[in-house]
Symmetry: D2
Subunit: 346 residues, 4 copies
């Protein structure tokens, strides 16, 4: 099978060897199914070391499942979830929150996918008014879908704003590791310490095969989740093969090393590509994605060899994304090819 030269998404990468090795290692014979095996129980304990002892962890196989089931488990159908217009739950889940969660999303315009109390406040009217969905959750993505970071202070302020209004805070952390790597803090610092209520924890993009989790930090919510997960078709029988991934992912700072590499490669790409005449990198590069303006003719040339997304045809923006598996050599080769393409079309 031909290896793809991809800067399309971090989910184009494979699994980290240490994760794969753990999956192989756990294939030892008969074990209880559905998460009642020793390994899955132990992995829960490992998670608690990172998120605190009150954390409750439930494994699922996709990020969409983590988002939708987490949100559904804390809402009535007459509640609403406030999110940025760019949110994955709003744009990239084919209507799953609405169809499978009965959830009313309230998308809020934002320049970079980040929300502030000031942006949210105007959407909080009609409390107790029976004709209007009742706000229950503020869902933020860290880093956002366009690669921007909330500071810890910004998260703290949002949580305080939310809790003052009896709202919960959900963090879509499909790339939580990249955020922690970029802000040089722990998972605990970014979530439990800030009183975030529940998290979609992503492992897949940063080195797992398919390993995600819903983590409840607030002890008062999500009680029925185990039934909901089963009902939502997300309780895999041979659970060991999911928990093995996540245990390996959390071991020896693998999650951090992987995320640091992805972030560093994005920075490297931004610096080197940004230095080429006619290439403009949009904004800062906080994590492992970057957005660039290049002429569509150059894009066309590059797409013959590489795989990445044209983000916006109108303003000629492309998205490049790096992963745990991106190497300096890959970046440098890509930059070289970009340079040639730009020359060819100038």
């Amino acid at each position: 099978m031909s290896d793809l030269k991809s800067f399309a998404s971090d989910n184009n990468s494979g699994a980290h060897p240490a994760v794969m090795e753990a999956v192989v290692r756990v294939n030892t014979g008969h074990l209880k199914s559905y998460g009642d095996d020793e390994l899955s129980i132990h992995t829960d304990e490992v998670f608690k070391e990172f998120f605190g002892s009150q954390a409750r962890i439930h494994y699922v196989t996709t990020g969409t499942a983590a988002n939708v089931l987490g949100l559904r488990s804390v809402t009535h159908t007459y509640n609403s979830v406030l999110c940025a217009e760019q949110a994955h739950i709003n744009n990239d889940e084919c209507g799953a929150p609405e169809a499978f969660g009965g959830i009313k999303l309230v998308p809020i315009p934002s320049p970079d996918g980040k929300l502030t109390p000031g942006m949210i406040a105007p959407y909080l009217g009609h409390i107790g008014f029976v004709h209007a969905s009742q706000p229950k959750v503020i869902s933020i993505t860290q880093p956002t879908e366009v690669g921007k970071l909330y500071t810890l202070k910004e998260i703290e302020d949002l949580v305080e704003f939310a809790h003052d209004r009896d709202l919960l805070v959900h963090m879509d952390g499909a790339r939580l590791a990249n955020a922690c790597a970029a802000l040089d803090c722990s998972f605990f610092d970014m979530t439990t310490a800030l009183d975030v209520d529940f998290i979609s924890f992503g492992g897949t993009k940063n080195g797992c095969l398919m390993g995600e989790a819903v983590i409840f930090l607030n002890p008062d919510i999500g009680q029925g989740f185990p039934y909901l997960r089963k009902q939502a078709m997300q309780l895999v029988s041979k659970m060991r093969f999911v928990s093995a991934q996540l245990e390996a992912y959390l071991k020896d700072d693998l999650w951090l090393k992987n995320a640091r590499n992805a972030n560093a490669m994005a920075k490297r790409l931004a610096e080197k590509a940004g230095a080429i005449d006619g290439v403009t990198i949009k904004g800062t590069v906080d994590c492992n994605s970057l957005f660039a303006h290049i002429p569509p003719e150059a894009t066309e040339i590059l797409l013959k060899k590489y795989y990445f997304y044209v983000w916006n045809e109108h303003d000629q923006t492309v998205r490049w994304m790096t992963s745990w598996a991106t190497t300096e050599a890959m970046v440098d080769e890509f930059v070289e090819d970009l340079r040639k393409a730009m020359k060819a079309v100038s």
Copy 2:
């Protein structure tokens, strides 16, 4: 990690080495995600060799997902699905068909989980009557939840009965390989050749890590399935890790060898255990599960060392299940321990 001595379920087994090897082998670098990779596309072709060129194959991660999404994709919420009272969709999916599919199940009493036209006919009234759910699908499980087999002729008759009434036939084939092994026929013989409309194809129990599929044989149904799968949180990003399993599973008759072993071990266990005084094996052993009457005191002794289910406390029935990974030595050791337990309590 301690290996469990399990006769509880075939999903207590791990993955077959050849399947695991395929998963490791495909971990080679960047590939397109969400099933657009070469391997996933090729695996589709492999499936078509088994099910016919008109087959459309969609991978999911759990059997519940295969059942619920397959059924949902062919029904309106005002349709009903007729199934045996014992059906997995009726008892073992925590209400998923109802909650996530909006499906009305009509459970039909059956002695062994098998349905006949005669059993179904009384439930087909009220066609066109707006107060009643309109029958749309007959769902059968092959082998049934209590290990019984439909003959090919019985399936053929059911399909004819169904199609004469504009009903579709769904086959829950979580253990389809075991059925084919037992009846000595191919997947094609059991499904496509008999005009079955769509299938839940199981790989997990018979040697995969987590690999299931919905297969549409009828070209007129299930058109929107790809959107539905995404929406139902079942589109895994690194799809190669699912398709690799299923490709390996279908290669070199692995599915058949695994199923034959599971079936043979069940037969061996039935013969040897049934020869012990005071142990009664209920009915014939068609595939890889068997049900036995033993005194509850003997069950108690065995459960200290082995893991299996007490099926019915009232009539003192236990279920023992074998898998691709069950060996003759395991069976013989279990029989020996059973013999001792029976002696101890007699």
Copy 3:
């Protein structure tokens, strides 16, 4: 418009003149909408006189809405509702509980639509088992769909059985008035005094135009109902036209007089028809429906002039139903025609 000679259903009747008069009387000008008008608030108080001061009353327009929304408001999608196989929620609501409530129904065989603790007990296994829907509500119909009555003692026993197991009891009272009239007891005696948790209260069949209510007697359940009713498309804007009906219905014992008439007419019909050679009335006549065996040829003759249902073609049973509007003359004319039809076919 030609008046139909109907013994088909009590919902073939119109509205009682006193109810209609109330609707006309309340059409006096501008009032607050959505139930915030004085009349609706007052009607709530009237209901509390009948059901106790802790009762919470919510009006809806159909019996299906009362059943589905009441049940939904007290269940999670992973809960199940146990009911008799004959239950209206199971057979006559086109799958609404499943599709609009996400509810798993567990239909239990019963000879006459009545449930007993003994019938229910075998369906209460798997508590805490994540693969199985978790029982939450026992739903009984009083009188049942085939016209049979629970005694007060039977209801009391069921409630005790339910509450001992943390289950709620729902009473589908589409014809609650007929039951009270037959048992010579009050609404309070039949519900609040017996600790029934919530009720679908029917007014339509017994003299209203369209007036039903969900009544919560248990103060701990159904808190979000007002939002749910709005979301479920059941919050009518000009609510006064519903509450006026129900206020009139409860006034001056109208509900009781109407129900007594319906019941008395059914008894009259049973006695007179049962005396005709070849006509067999099945069982006792508890309320306002009766089931009779007559030859299909006689049915054919009668259906030219009258409207009623052939209940079961196989055993030649027909259902005759009387209402608040059925008169002695109507019954006697029907009996006379039945006599002629029987003679013609003998």
Copy 4:
């Protein structure tokens, strides 16, 4: 019961005497239920005189039901419905389209609740992209929630734009009569002649008790609606009481006379109130609602005697709404009180 001095909503009015008289007149004895009565069948024919012979008409009891069930009957859960941010379906139905229809709404910013092809086009990307909800319906409200009108040409252009892209056009016509009265055209001119696909037809606000309908003009859609309506708890048993209202409403131009009065009273109020110092009427008054800036202190005084909504506290806007039942005397009295209030606070 005290008559409310209401300019809050047209649903604060009662029923027109001619409508009420029809309801009383149809209360004549036994009739078939669930819409199989002669009157309901005849009312269908009356509707066809207005909307064309291919129209299919289904009665429901609330506008939310008309909207949600109409939309649901033509969409899969993976479809989206595009609407203005101000749309009733987006703001005023407590999440019903999402929860009971599984529908993804895509709210589009608009200054006055009107949509244009240019506003919609940017939201039509990702066709065939499995991660994104697939656009299926453009829903417009005529007149809009803030009282603005689409011209016939604007509707025609939207329909053409939609049909060119395989999209359907839904018209929320809760106040369709007011729009026709304002534009001096027939229902046919505004809908069937312009190829609108389906309509929520409102009768309640303009003189009925509770009478709404879903009307399909496109013969290829909404086939399963009768089952869906039953399942959605909207099939009332004594349907005659709904169809009688709508037949009367359509007779002798009652709908038109009522709407003309409502519109005229709003214009009168706008002119007279707008002439008072310090009162500003916002924009033009197209139908029967108007928005005015007045000082909050004046609002406070008026609210002691009258009932109306403060639309926006921030910019001190109030909404005044007139109905078929609003008289010149009511308007003049209100204007006089407004004048006094303004004087008191100046």
